[in-house]
Point group: C2
Chain length 153, copies 2
């Protein structure tokens, strides 16, 4: 092999990224990362995959679904290293997503406090959440933490 190994095996990627093999193959199935194969059908990854993985794991920690992450990643070029502009666009996107979530949590926390403070003791009636039908209007099975998702089967 040449001095600087140009590509990495799945084991190396797993070790360096901390993402288990099984998850790497899973992500590949889902189109989140890609690889090419050796003549012996083994996966070889570009180094850039490590960057993608860091991104994926970070996003997951915030509660984003793989589907959402996948969607965002498709806006990055597969072939070349993303430019500053690529990342900036993506980051703006995530930022607003994060802002929304943070905002929701902060409000919830503060309302919870004020519930106690005001002595009403009833979360159900003091504005912490919507009474009756409004909650119903959200529909059943609403995915937690995903305020943006709606119809899409």
């Amino acid at each position: 092999m040449p001095a600087s190994s140009p590509t990495l095996s799945i084991g190396e990627i797993a070790h360096r990224s901390g993402v288990p093999h099984s998850a790497l193959r899973f992500y590949e199935d889902r189109g989140l990362i890609s690889s090419h194969r050796t003549s012996g059908n083994q996966r070889r990854y570009e180094r850039s995959v490590l960057r993608r993985l860091a991104f994926i794991r970070s996003a997951q920690r915030v509660g984003l679904s793989l589907e959402d992450i996948q969607a965002a990643l498709t806006t990055l070029p597969e072939g070349r290293t993303p430019t500053k502009a690529d990342w900036a666009r993506l980051s703006r996107q995530w930022r607003s997503e994060l802002d929304t979530r943070i905002d929701g949590m902060v409000r919830l926390r503060d309302r919870l406090d004020s519930c106690i403070g005001c002595g009403c003791l009833s979360l159900a009636t003091c504005g912490l959440h919507n009474p009756d039908d409004e909650l119903a209007a959200q529909g059943p099975g609403a995915p937690m933490l995903r305020p943006s998702r709606e119809g899409g089967r």
Copy 2:
């Protein structure tokens, strides 16, 4: 029936809370709410269940698992209306949970920004996340958004 119906059927609870019947039965199986039965084996709920449900849904929206919620709820008295002290204790608990999550998100967001700002372009190396082994140390299959859970059988 007496002037003020003392208990509510599952349909009434579902309508008032916006939580579908199926979920109500599911929650009951999980021990999140409780009911007693009529002679005809139908569920009858105390009004306080509505409050519990509001709490459950609120907590879910923040990304807490039913298991965690159940654990918190068991610290509330099943029989009597929770006192101010009961709620205060619980709220303190949730508050720190929320604070932790909020903090994590804020940090992630800010780091993401600084990644762009500093021009390094590489999320993997500029501190957005831990390099190499630290990530691995988190273990595979780490449940998203649940920084507090760890060993648990």
